[in-house]
């Protein structure tokens, strides 16, 4: 599982946020488009693309996308 690929899939969840705004340091919950809906989209993306069950609590504990990547990687 590659960080760059994860970032690109993560960015794909968003409709209005430009992919260039999303890097490994991005504090994703501070993005204007972040909501419980995008949270569920990320959970769906992780299940579809990585076959892993990410939980809401896992997302809650992460601040940056790299932290989330590490959590998904460890699942």
């Amino acid at each position: 599982m590659e960080l760059q690929e994860f970032i690109s899939k993560f960015a794909g969840v968003f409709e209005d946020t430009d992919a260039s705004e999303i890097t490994k340091e991005t504090r994703f919950k501070e993005l204007e488009e972040w909501s419980s809906l995008t949270g569920l989209m990320v959970i769906g993306m992780v299940l579809d693309d990585y076959g892993k069950n990410l939980k809401a609590d896992d997302i809650r504990k992460c601040v940056t996308i790299e932290e989330l990547f590490n959590v998904v990687n460890a699942l």
């Binding site: 419980s36 809906l37 569920l40 989209m41 959970i43 769906g44 993306m45 299940l47 579809d48 069950n53 939980k55 809401a56 609590d57 997302i59 809650r60």
Partner: protein
């Protein structure tokens, strides 16, 4: 004492009795005088339910209703019934654009197909006596409102609402009544899968006019009304109990 709500002398099967609404229903039915057959997949948790029940003569039948063998085992093992509470179910939180065949089929299998087939087979094998009352656990979700990420559950429970109405008509002549309860959010462990966070649940609680979710026993009491002779002229109905949530 005069009490048309009593379940004295009635034998009632409750599925999904190892937790939540099913457990509370089994316990409350026993307190109302019924002999209760409790079913679920986990014997240990069924034993815990049994230990909280009043009276004697209750029975545990361990069965996985998502399989034909499980349904058959339950149908063959249980005695003749005066009441059936078709309650077993779960929810799989998933957004519409991520639906896949496996998740959809599993949700429908457990929440829709299994309860309908269990009822049908009990009927066919004459385990449901004249005057039997059947209660399905449905939901306000899909019937009167929707919840983000709840599309699979809404679909499965809406089908139950349709089934209840039509089956009630088919069987009214045989004096078998079929009704449903449609609760709003209830404090159970159904969301323990973790897709919805505690924070989100608390925010949802605040959207309820009573600022709380329902309690499992509050749903059980409506189920008891539908099982009892007090509701003898009621069939094909769905009792909504949501603390006023869908009035908003």
């Amino acid at each position: 004492m005069y009490n048309p709500f009593s379940l004295e002398g009635k034998t009632i099967l409750v599925t999904g009795a190892s937790s939540g609404i099913g457990r509370a229903t089994a316990i409350e039915c026993s307190k109302m005088g019924a002999i209760v057959i409790i079913s679920g997949r986990n014997e240990g948790r069924l034993q815990e339910t049994l230990s909280q029940m009043d009276g004697n003569g209750h029975q545990i039948i361990v069965a996985d209703l998502s399989t034909d063998a499980g349904v058959q085992l339950l149908v063959e093992t249980c005695p003749k019934l005066d009441g059936l509470v078709n309650n077993a179910g779960y929810t799989h939180t998933m957004l519409t654009n991520f639906i896949n065949r496996e998740a959809l089929s599993q949700q429908l299998e457990v929440n829709t197909v299994a309860p309908i087939l269990l009822f049908q087979r009990l009927l066919k094998t004459k385990k449901l006596q004249k005057g039997t009352s059947v209660v399905f656990t449905a939901s306000i979700s899909g019937l009167c409102c929707a919840v983000l990420g709840n599309v699979l559950y809404s679909t499965s429970k809406s089908a139950i609402n349709g089934f209840v109405k039509n089956a009630a008509l088919d069987l009214a002549g045989k004096n078998i009544r079929i009704n449903a309860v449609a609760p709003g959010m209830v404090d159970t462990h159904i969301l323990d899968a973790g897709t919805i966070s505690e924070e989100q649940l608390n925010a949802e609680r605040q959207r309820y006019p009573m600022k709380r979710f329902g309690k499992p026993e509050e749903v059980a009491w409506s189920i008891i009304y539908l099982l009892s002779d007090a509701s003898n002229f009621t069939t094909g109905s769905t009792i909504i109990m949501d603390g006023g949530f869908t009035l908003q």
